[in-house]
């Protein structure tokens, strides 16, 4: 678990919120109080790093998700079926109840042909088509990661594939979980909340307030260096990295307390600046990531 740093104890309560929610869902499913929901996971125009990050989750882990919380219907990286048979499984639930999780932006160039996710009944299905078809009918749509949320690196200048975040293609509200990648707890907590209570309270950028309400800068363990004007001039230093490019002052997410990979570390503790990967406008508006021009 995280080394306790002296900030508001409320934070640690919040840190445990996601795992409490997930366990409540698992118990409720066991006791037949709530039903397992169907889950579809799309890896669209991106790097598939969010499904890998989900596999890194331990709070609880992927097995609990796939066997105790949901009926996991479709995911390109993990499903045993392949080809049209895989697509049949996907389309078999389109008129049923399902929650749609999407990672990756959507390429809009050439009618979406820059990203074909498979063939169904002989015809190619584009990412664009898939999000239109399945997004409108889903009970809830969760944008997992920065690309699905706001375009992210897939939409970086000059945006050769004309990528957009999924909200701009849908007429229903998308719950956004930006981060490159999305932390497994952010997804699991949000999914569990939806299964128990419906849509969580969202901020003006459609992010769950329970996860995205705090500025990194406000709870950064190196804040005292910023306040005293002690700044690092290169990577590897233990002081405030604001002058070499840290985007903590504009990035809202709970990395300083939740940390990554079972809480072992996070970028600032690794003596490198936050690059604002969970922020709207990443990467173009967050660059340069590293700058030695500290004047």
């Amino acid at each position: 678990m995280n080394e306790k740093i002296s900030i508001c104890p409320n934070f640690y309560t919040r840190l445990e919120t996601t795992s409490l929610l997930v366990h409540k869902v698992i118990d409720s499913v066991k006791q037949n109080k709530i039903k397992k929901r169907n889950l579809i996971w799309f890896e669209l125009t991106g790097c598939s790093g969010n499904i890998i990050s989900l596999l890194d989750g331990a709070n609880p882990d992927f097995k609990s998700l796939a066997t105790q919380m949901v009926n996991f219907i479709y995911d390109n990286s993990l499903m045993a079926a392949e080809g049209e048979d895989a697509m049949e499984k996907l389309f078999s639930v389109i008129d049923d109840d399902y929650i749609l999780a999407v990672e990756g932006a959507v390429s809009t160039k050439n009618n979406g042909l820059y990203n074909i996710i498979g063939r169904w009944r002989g015809q190619p299905v584009t990412a664009y088509d898939a999000i239109k078809k399945f997004g409108e009918k889903a009970a809830y749509v969760i944008a997992v990661g920065t690309c699905a949320s706001d375009g992210g690196i897939s939409a970086a200048r000059p945006n050769p594939a004309q990528c957009v975040g999924i909200q701009s293609l849908l007429n229903k509200k998308v719950i956004k979980l930006p981060g490159c990648p999305c932390h497994p707890d952010w997804f699991m907590g949000t999914l569990a909340y939806i299964m128990l209570f419906g849509e969580p309270e969202l901020d003006s950028r459609q992010r769950p307030i329970m996860l995205y309400s705090t500025l990194i800068h406000d709870i950064c363990p190196r804040r005292k260096y910023f306040d005293s004007g002690i700044f690092a001039s290169k990577l590897g230093e233990k002081t405030c990295m604001f002058k070499i490019g840290c985007r903590g002052p504009v990035t809202r997410v709970d990395c300083p307390v939740r940390k990554w990979n079972e809480g072992v570390n996070w970028p600032i503790e690794d003596d490198s600046p936050c690059i604002g990967c969970a922020m709207f406008g990443f990467p173009d508006k967050m660059e340069p990531f590293i700058s030695y021009d500290t004047t």
Partner: protein, 469 residues
């Protein structure tokens, strides 16, 4: 004659279609096509060279550290910086952790479902074939390890994050070595995680791979390809430790030769691009896309060494370093991968034994006004190259040739299929309604199509394709 299209090929990273012709139960022709395009090479133009380390990682979420390694090496080459040995040890440990994460996930989550029956009652685990041969007891043991493995691949990422801040998309690998330092506490943490991962690999994963090999014995004779193997080298040429794994080498026609990077080219004859020449070297301009090009069928280009297709990856490395010489086939690739996982664990341990805690390797770096540099290194899936030109202190050209571009390469003018295609052609298909052999062969290459189709595209509609209404 029957035409089979498998799309999507699941349990790989990214989107891929296989278009195969089957006659007399034999694959007579096969094409591998990548179906995802973003355009990283074009995006990188005009950006700060330092940012390439973090930026290029986003090409691929399963092998992001690989790109941070190649990008950092390209920067060091361009800047004329020779990293300290301590710096190399630390970042090579990060790189090794990525191998472990990948190999464990690839074997259990991606490969095993081709050969073992996963629990019923879960849509995700349902298959469309019935060629499952293991006795129930052995099958169920591997199923148990399928779920157990989640812990160990996760722990490998945890190790990566101890030194690299987070995973995927680490913050650690950088010019000089890594951003942070190793402390005694971190070294102990890494040792303890590594010990458990190594035990899992040796006691569960390797025996499981041999169990599968025993029941699917004909896969030692399926999916050979050309038998041309290539490596850029990795965990090699340390000042004190020498080479712990493999140096840059190539194997063709039964002979191993030293690799000369100047003889690497790319070809776009069958890919949707045009340029003055169909064959060019990595520092030359990136060709323009042309989706109307006749006979082109893939966005993946065709990397060549001395004009020939080469296979890259764990089997190539294990063969070139002399530790695995059983054969070149679908099953040999799988065995080489799990055996390599154990070897990587031992290499990480050796590096950890040589790490001195508390050494910072970071300096203030200055971007040269004009420079160029290449970062060539073997990563999990094989040989990865980043070539970078800097003009007016920003990136003016960035060329990436990935392992999956080697393995899934298209044909050049000589009509030689890429290694993956070559491995499919000639395969006997038992049941043409369910050609399970095709997926098994292609997955043995551990393809990563997110990586392979990172390229800049600007073309028009593909003429022959219709979108589902």
């Amino acid at each position: 004659m029957k035409r089979v299209k498998i799309s999507p090929v699941t349990r790989i990273s990214g989107f891929m279609e296989i278009d195969a012709i089957i006659g007399n139960n034999t694959v007579t022709d096969a094409k591998t096509e990548g179906l995802l395009f973003r355009g990283f090479e074009k995006m990188l133009e005009g950006r700060s060279p330092f940012d390439a380390v973090y930026f290029t990682q986003r090409i691929c979420g399963i092998c992001s550290a690989a790109h941070s390694m190649a990008s950092t090496l390209a920067l060091e080459d361009a800047f004329g910086i020779i990293p300290s040995q301590q710096g190399r040890y630390l970042r090579d440990i990060i790189h090794g952790c990525e191998f472990l994460q990948n190999h464990i996930r690839h074997f259990y989550q991606y490969t095993a479902p081709d050969f073992i029956k996963l629990p019923e009652g879960n849509t995700l685990f349902e298959t469309n074939h019935n060629d499952f041969r293991l006795p129930k007891q052995k099958n169920d043991l591997i199923v148990q390890h399928y779920f157990d493995s989640l812990v160990y691949s996760r722990n490998a990422h945890e190790m990566l994050a101890v030194l690299g801040g987070k995973a995927p998309h680490n913050h650690g690998v950088f010019i000089g070595g890594i951003t942070s330092q190793a402390t005694q506490e971190k070294i102990l943490q890494l040792r303890s995680l590594l010990q458990n991962i190594r035990e899992f690999i040796c006691n569960k994963m390797i025996p499981d791979a041999y169990t599968i090999a025993e029941y699917y014995e004909e896969y030692f004779r399926i999916g050979r390809g050309y038998g041309n193997l290539l490596s850029f080298g990795c965990f090699n040429e340390y000042e004190k430790l020498g080479t712990l794994y493999v140096n840059p080498l190539a194997y063709s026609g039964g002979k191993i030769v030293e690799l000369n990077p100047a003889e690497i080219t790319e070809n776009i004859y069958s890919s949707w691009y045009i340029a003055n020449e169909d064959t060019y070297t990595p520092y030359q301009t990136i060709p323009e896309p042309d989706m109307d090009k006749i006979d082109a069928y893939s966005w993946v280009k065709a990397p060549r060494y001395r004009g020939l297709p080469y296979e890259v990856g764990p089997l190539a490395r294990m063969w070139l370093c002399g530790e695995y010489r059983n054969g070149i086939s679908t099953m040999d690739r799988t065995l080489a991968r799990v055996l390599e996982a154990a070897k990587i664990a031992d290499i990480i341990l050796t590096l950890l034994n040589n790490v001195i805690p508390g050494i910072s390797v970071q300096k203030e770096y200055e971007v040269p006004e004009n420079a160029k540099g290449a970062g060539l290194i073997d990563t999990t899936r094989g040989a990865l190259g980043h070539w970078m030109k800097i003009e007016n202190s920003v990136i003016s050209l960035y060329q990436i040739i990935t392992p999956s571009a080697w393995n899934l390469s298209t044909r050049s003018e000589d009509n030689l299929p890429g290694p993956g295609e070559k491995a499919l052609i000639g395969t006997i298909i038992q049941n043409t309604d369910s050609p399970v052999e095709i997926g098994r062969i292609i997955r043995s290459f551990d393809p990563c199509v997110s990586c392979a189709t990172h390229v800049y595209t600007n073309g028009s509609l593909i003429k022959t394709m219709k979108v589902v209404p």
